[in-house]
């Protein structure tokens, strides 16, 4: 890789041990992907939770935070997602287990290094939105895919250590979706099905993601009958990432680099693959469990927006959640507090639901909770949650938010449509 003067200084250790480690690490990754040079970034954003970090990741962060200030100086705006940990909720979910400490320790270590502690992702607008065409370093896959496709930001997946390296150097290796040529469409899909809720849009992302299953492929989705809202597109995006490892896609007429199919591909589009309603229905049937008793409803991934939390309360309409079912509603702390101010949180809790802030269900001890509670049947409005919790031994079903709530009230899996 070609290095600039400042990058050479980092490599030589002149700018501190942190930058020296970071640039060497970034070069290993950059050279693996044949990057020619580095791209300076507007800011770096990192999420962290104890489960992903592990003890060794936490030790790494704390050791870095203990270095002298000149060794760990950050060279870009650095934001760490400090969603906190919901002690009160976890006292109910995993009573008597000491879980709080590790995530907070990691966030505190990054705070000591100079990172700003903010809640949530920029895709729910709680941290600054970058401008079109800027390079950034984000550790959250949902943020990366949304930023690339929906906003036109240039970024790759920059996972934990990589995001920290970007904070220390203020740059990232320029490969993948920093390059115009990589952002063009590679595979064409015509959507004949009519997704009508977040689980359907997630299913579309899962179907395409499974078929392509490559970070480097960029699906172009055309033919949508009805313009999806940002929440639906977020579910499409994070399922493309979750099932296919995708970090970039286009929806013709919706996303900014796809005014038409030719724009998305840079060439005439290839023959499309058709995604039908039958494909979407067949995907949902893989997780079939209609009529079976239900242990838990986990709403999140992405965490619920304020309008979605309102929808939960409105759909419950004062009815209690069934005794055998636990309703967990994951939302950022700010939204939870706003819902407490407006009385919506109380309505959900009076019905027996639990509003949980902090990292999502799948990222906070979902396996331990299943083992402790003896749960198997899970329902969610998020196909991503279904995908991950299946790996943790749950039998998940993804459905509309409304069906999730109806099922929580019935204590068994019901579908109204």
């Amino acid at each position: 890789m070609r290095l600039t003067e400042i990058e050479e200084a980092m490599q030589a250790g002149v700018l501190g041990k942190g930058a020296e480690w970071a640039i060497a690490y970034q070069k290993r990754v950059g050279e693996f992907f044949e990057a020619e040079n580095f791209a300076e970034i507007r800011f770096a954003h990192m999420i962290t939770d104890a489960e992903t970090l592990g003890a060794s990741g936490l030790a790494f962060l704390e050791e870095m935070a203990e270095m002298p200030a000149e060794d760990r100086r950050l060279r870009t705006l650095a934001i760490v997602d400090s969603r906190g940990f919901d002690d009160r909720a976890f006292e109910r979910l995993l009573p008597g287990k000491p879980l709080v400490g590790d995530t907070q320790r990691a966030i505190d270590a990054l705070g000591r290094m100079g990172a700003m502690k903010a809640h949530g992702y920029f895709n729910n607008h709680s941290v600054p939105l970058p401008a079109f065409g800027e390079s950034c370093a984000f550790s959250g896959t949902p943020t990366v895919v949304y930023a690339n496709a929906m906003v036109g930001v240039r970024c790759n997946f920059e996972a934990g250590p990589s995001a920290i390296a970007a904070m220390l150097t203020g740059r990232v290796p320029r490969y993948g979706f920093h390059l115009d040529v990589s952002r063009r469409g590679t595979d064409y899909f015509k959507l004949e099905g009519k997704p009508s809720n977040t689980a359907d849009w997630g299913a579309v992302g899962a179907i395409i993601g499974r078929q392509l299953a490559s970070y480097w492929k960029v699906p172009v989705i055309d033919g949508i009958a009805e313009r999806p809202d940002a929440i639906s597109l977020n579910h499409l995006a994070l399922c493309l990432a979750s099932y296919g490892s995708h970090a970039m896609f286009h929806v013709v007429g919706v996303t900014p680099e796809a005014r038409d199919a030719q724009d998305a591909f840079g060439d005439p589009p290839p023959e499309p693959t058709v995604v039908t309603q039958a494909d979407i229905d067949a995907f949902h049937r893989e997780y079939d469990g209609d009529g079976e008793t239900l242990d838990v409803v986990a709403l999140g991934a992405p965490q619920l927006t304020m309008p979605e939390v309102y929808t939960v309360a409105e759909t419950l309409a004062g009815r209690p959640v069934h005794d055998r079912t636990t309703l967990l509603v994951y939302t950022p702390l700010e939204i939870k507090e706003a819902c407490q101010r407006t009385g919506i949180a109380q309505q959900i809790e009076d019905a027996g639901g639990l509003l949980v802030h902090g990292p999502d269900f799948f990222a906070t001890f979902a396996k331990e909770i299943r083992e402790t509670k003896g749960w198997t049947r899970l329902m969610t409005q998020s196909v991503k949650t279904a995908n991950i919790t299946e790996g943790y031994g749950y039998q998940p079903v993804a459905a509309s938010l409304a069906d999730c709530i109806e099922s929580a009230v019935a204590g068994r899996i019901v579908r109204t449509a």
Partner: protein
């Protein structure tokens, strides 16, 4: 003995027994990292112990979690000896570079077809070469 070339990878040379499937791979979605086995029922390697094996799969999938997890697995001695994929993503490369786990991708042929479970293989990431012995 046959030699398969790929792109220059990460980490040093190792020799071990292959564990192979044509499925994709995520450390978060597919593994019980405490027991060192594949825990996802729908994975072709469900129930298989991957610790100390040269793990060979198709593509990296999923999100950021693998970057921290590979190093944690190495430290806890619950890691594969090396990882070979047809198609890596940045997270897996970032994870392997952080863990210093031997890692290669982009071979001249479908690596999941060229090597069978049980084969002894010599992995040389810096030379971009895998030798089936």
């Amino acid at each position: 003995m046959s030699v398969i070339t790929g792109h220059k990878g990460i980490g040093g040379q190792v020799r071990g027994i292959a564990l192979v499937a044509s499925d994709n791979f995520s450390t978060r979605y597919d593994l019980d990292r405490e027991r060192g086995i594949f825990s996802r029922r729908s994975h072709k390697l469900f129930g298989e112990n991957y610790v100390g094996r040269v793990l060979i799969l198709n593509a990296a999938k999923g999100g950021v979690a693998s970057a921290w997890m590979l190093r944690e697995m190495v430290i806890n001695e619950k890691a594969p000896l090396a990882l070979l994929l047809n198609d890596a993503n940045p997270v897996m490369a970032q994870g392997a570079a952080f863990a210093e786990l031997p890692f290669m991708h982009r071979f001249e042929t479908d690596i999941t077809q060229a090597i069978q479970t049980g084969d002894t293989v010599l992995v040389d990431p810096q030379a971009g070469r895998v030798t089936v012995e």
